[in-house]
Amino acid sequence: MPVADSYFDYPFRGQRLDHERYRHQTLFTRRPVQWPQQARIALWITVHCEFFPLDMANLPFRVLGAMERGYPDYWNYTLRDYGNRVGAWRVMRLLDRYGLRATAAFNSDVAARYPELVHAVTDRRWEVMASGVNMAKLHVGGMPPDEEKALVAESVSTLRRISGAPVRGWHSPAHSESDATLDLVAAEGVAYVADWINDDMPYPIATRSGTIHSMPLTHEWSDRTLLWQYHQSSADFTNQVVEAFRVLYGEAAQHGGRILSVALHPWIIGQPHRIRALDAALARITAHAGVWNATGAEILEAWQRQAAPP
């Protein structure tokens, strides 16, 4: 098959990006921000409570953690469900011990199935973030717009109803979006999304319902990437989280407050043989002065009070 002449068209080739959602901006030339309490690091912990249906189809792509054996795949279904029954509570108890609050990112099916978990989160004044309906209901390019609109509405309204919380953040299952996702979540009153892994700080995103923000949820040193996708050791996980902290903490002295995202999936980090890796990382991070623990919405609010307008 020959290559068409149109393959040599470069419609966005100029001093700009190839889409209209945000502007290209170098991290190190932005106006520095100052966190509350003169902190150098805003410590943003996210606990991702996910539901992987036993009958999930691996379409249009296979997400990490999906079923991988013949139906019914009890092995993988129950290991994921373990996260919501045991792992999340184990993580919560550990964070309580450090006096740390987190943002809980819920597939709304988890809230509908296990409302006690949501209430435990709100009792602790954690933030509730919407993370779609479940890990089989992906937001992907080419899906019918009405179908996606219904998914967003179901996720956000279920979580608001069960938690009583405002639900200001959105994280799509598996970081996957269609071209419409940002518009749809903004229309539901969401203030920030955490799907785009291109920055260490917040930045504005344009939608049909006004400006929202991208928050720097880590993909790179999440337990899912390091421990599940890359099969690294628990010690490797601890070391990389702490190393990210060390570098960002160092940069903050010169460039203003930075954010350390610690992204946790209870079905992974909540296993008995792994939980101490999180403990070790938190011990080393919280030993430093200048660490401000906050939820995603609180961090964004502090950033918005002083960041340069887009």
Partner: protein, 304 residues
């Protein structure tokens, strides 16, 4: 299709003519930052689907975009700290999109060579005339917007055709990085003119090591240092080349940047290492070794 690229001859590693580097260095060490632009909605051509997920692949796109917003700046700082210049594998459209990055690289004396126009536009299925358009675009863009005469080539996203190497030689390009067959530069068989390969690497390249072989930053540094140790030792007898390709979206991450720092500190703590650009390695090789090696190869052909 061919059963062999038919671009080079067998030339056993031992008992080759001795390669020497400037100042009697044992090893020419060069770093290839891949500074790339992946499109959110690239057109589809024959041969390869650009993203694993349906468009927009937000995860894949924003992962690469991190390199241009954040990672590249950390990488430039660390390389400057060790006095190591980059030879940039450049998607040349980046000159148009992000001139700030081009300017910073130029200020540090870095080289630019072409890695195609975008990393989401492949050579697969292109006619010779179409490939010439990409080569011409590369030469013109690097001259007009980055202020350099382009010397080298690494096919975009490592997509090649049987003819590409002939077209590079025809366009007067000095070296290609598309062949992984050797630890020294090598003359290549081309229709007209002349061309050499300069060693690149997919073994100490951060993409396969970190994202396919699952290396931790410590393991990555260990592998790169082991590569260096061996080539440095062998370089006492016959000059070697070590290339370390890096991608700012990977090594420029806060949890990994120290690995690059450690590797470069280790390499630059040794005497007898020529911290070169790929263009300098190619120029030296043409001036001092090309003819000798070409003669040795011709003798092998006659003897066969």
């Amino acid at each position: 299709m061919l059963s062999d690229p038919d671009r080079y001859e067998y030339f056993p590693f031992l008992d080759r003519p001795r390669i020497t580097w400037p100042g009697g260095a044992r090893l020419a060490f060069w770093v290839a930052p891949n500074i790339e632009f992946y499109e959110l909605h690239p057109p589809l051509g024959p041969g390869r689907v650009p993203w694993p997920r349906p468009f927009p692949d937000v995860l894949g796109y924003s992962y690469r975009d991190y390199g241009n917003r954040v990672g590249v700046w950390r990488m430039i700082d660390v390389m400057a700290k060790h006095g190591v210049r980059g030879s940039v594998s450049l998607n040349v459209a980046l000159c148009d999109h992000f001139p700030d990055i081009i300017k910073a690289c130029n200020e540090h004396g870095w080289e630019f060579f072409s890695h195609g126009v975008y990393n989401t536009r492949y050579l697969y299925g292109m006619s010779e005339a179409q490939q010439r358009r990409i080569i011409r675009d590369s030469i013109d863009t690097i001259r007009d917007k980055a202020g350099q005469e382009m010397s080298g080539w690494l096919s975009p996203a490592l997509t090649n055709t049987d003819e590409t190497i002939d077209l590079l030689a025809e366009a007067g390009i000095q070296y290609t990085l598309d062949l992984m067959h050797d630890d020294q530069p090598m003359p290549l068989k081309v229709r007209s003119g002349r061309l050499i390969s300069v060693p690149y690497s997919l073994e100490v390249n951060d993409v396969p090591l970190l994202t396919m072989r699952n290396a931790s930053p410590e393991r990555y540094a260990e592998i790169c240092k082991a590569q260096f140790d061996q080539l440095y030792e062998e370089g006492a007898d016959n000059g070697m080349v070590m290339c370390m390709p890096v991608h700012p979206f990977l090594v420029g991450q806060p949890h990994r940047i120290r690995a690059l720092d450690e590797i470069l500190a280790y390499v630059t703590s040794h005497d007898g290492v020529w911290l070169a650009t790929a263009r300098e390695i190619a120029a030296w090789y043409y001036a001092h070794h090309y003819d000798t090696v070409a003669r040795a190869l011709a003798e092998r052909r006659r003897a066969a």
